[in-house]
Symmetry: C2
Subunit: 308 residues, 2 copies
């Protein structure tokens, strides 16, 4: 079992979908990543920041999953990062209604001492310099660094993004962002160009159309599970990443074959995340449910053909 | 080996893509279906109609693949159906520039006597009444009837479409059309509703995002092979259908497990079709190339996870 450092937002979200809307609920990339990774009983810490308005109950919720929260800075007089958004009918696109950085504006991540020798580091979507700061605090070069990012940093901090990319083993990125980062329409070509930027493994997330894992000339694909209803896509990408790193931390195996399995676990966990608002579905997810759905994934994708 | 009846257009296409453009070249749904099915050395006939302008060379090309062309009516004083279109940069959308029905306007399909006891019938995209006419000519109810259709018939002949759907075992349809036919956004729900209309197997084609096979509560997914470059998508859907029915005709097995394999073969063949203009790539495709790509498909999708 490898130690796992997760850096990212712990936040409030307010979400509106065609199915309903929420008040401020628990959200944030690191929250979703941590909850997904906790399915693998890993020794994980979350490095983040919250304000005085952040309920102890939410921290307890993470601690109860054996996630170390000592790396979550508590700014008594500050307010927690808040995002609100509204999804369109197709659930693939959304409008951001509010982004209040609040305490996140001055976030200076501190990795708890006990976790500075962690083998796996998950850099959730944040300013690339914040991500670099976490890597700089590690005692050694971690066995595997996984980075998530988004188009916002390509627009506003592309040089810093390239700096951190050089120190990353795996990037998870969505299809449009992969195209933006490389100027290539073909995802095959884009993935090759991104590997030249640093990460030797490139995971391209296509939302309801699944995810691709590229490594050299190898490629693996995991579909998203076809669902009757996507209730709330918020956090699905982070849940995917959390399942991905959680499985690797548990198995301590960074081979391509094992990363394929990690992609399947990530997709499986993401399929739960979207079934309810926010983190609700992930909070009470059982191992039995996870295993049942993994079997569905097998049936969805596995076939037996004898070549003729 | 089952006999296979293919009804559909044999046509001229003129295609423009970001990579270039063609003059009038060989096209048509039945042409693509036939070429794909011929990979399985099936005993197939094409039921169609062409004009006096249709080159004997094109008919020879089909005959050389052991496709019976006696069901292709030759109207000496007529002109062959002609379609021209231009693809947008993303290759997923296109504008139709020209549709000249010509001899197709009076198409009255005649199934050759030798093929009226065929076990497999592939109804390519045509007016639903034309599709029904083919079924009416069969000696017995075929073992498997596969239908392809499009939004045009939903707009212009929905009642006739529902008539033919009642007599069909498998429908292949794209995602937008499945949504239009059912009024459901979720493909899972749409597939269920389509099964209630007749076909017990529903194949939903998602272009570059792969294809789903639904049957009762079962679902199977085949991705499209990630390609460096899609050169010309024309005929990919028909090639998929041709590979699908060709494999079933060869194996004579209509179980869900075997239909999964048929979907994989359809996807594999479609991945070749898009590599060159029109039918060019399909004309000289070898069994070795097909097998090599099937292996790529296995590597793309197959994984080994032990449940924990």
């Amino acid at each position: 079992m490898s130690k796992l450092v997760i850096v990212g937002t712990v936040a409030f979200d307010a979400i509106e979908t065609p199915f309903g809307k929420t008040d401020k609920i628990l959200g944030g990339a690191a929250t979703f990543i941590g909850l997904a990774a906790s399915q693998f009983d890993v020794d994980a810490t979350i490095v983040s920041i919250v304000g005085g308005d952040f309920p102890q109950d939410y921290l307890n919720l993470l601690s109860d999953k054996n996630i170390d929260v000592s790396g979550i800075e508590f700014v008594k007089n500050g307010k927690t990062f808040f995002w609100s958004g509204k999804y369109h009918t197709d659930m693939n696109s959304r409008d951001t209604l509010t982004t209040e950085l609040n305490v996140l504006a001055d976030f200076n991540p501190i990795v708890p001492k006990f976790y500075r020798d962690a083998e796996i580091v998950m850099l959730g979507n944040l300013h690339p310099l914040t991500q670099i700061s976490v890597l700089d605090q590690m005692d050694n070069t971690p066995k595997l660094v996984v980075l998530d990012t988004m188009n916002f940093w390509m627009d506003s901090a592309i040089e810093e993004l390239h700096q951190v990319l050089k120190r990353v083993d795996v990037i998870t990125i969505n299809d449009d962002e992969a195209r933006q980062l490389t100027g290539e329409f073909s995802l095959v070509v884009a993935a090759r160009k991104i590997q030249d930027m640093g990460p030797k493994y490139v995971v391209i997330k296509k939302g309801e159309h699944g995810a691709l894992l590229f490594h050299g000339e190898k490629v693996f694909f995991a579909p998203a599970l076809p669902l009757e209803e996507v209730f709330d896509p918020t956090g699905a990408g982070d849940t995917f990443a959390g399942g991905f790193v959680g499985y690797i931390a548990k198995t301590e195996d960074t081979s391509f074959e094992n990363l394929k399995n990690a992609v399947i676990y990530g997709s499986t966990l993401a399929s739960f995340c979207v079934e309810k608002f926010g983190t609700e579905r992930m909070q009470d997810l059982s191992k039995e449910e996870l295993n049942t759905r993994l079997l569905q994934f097998k049936h969805l994708t596995q076939f037996e053909i004898e070549l003729t």
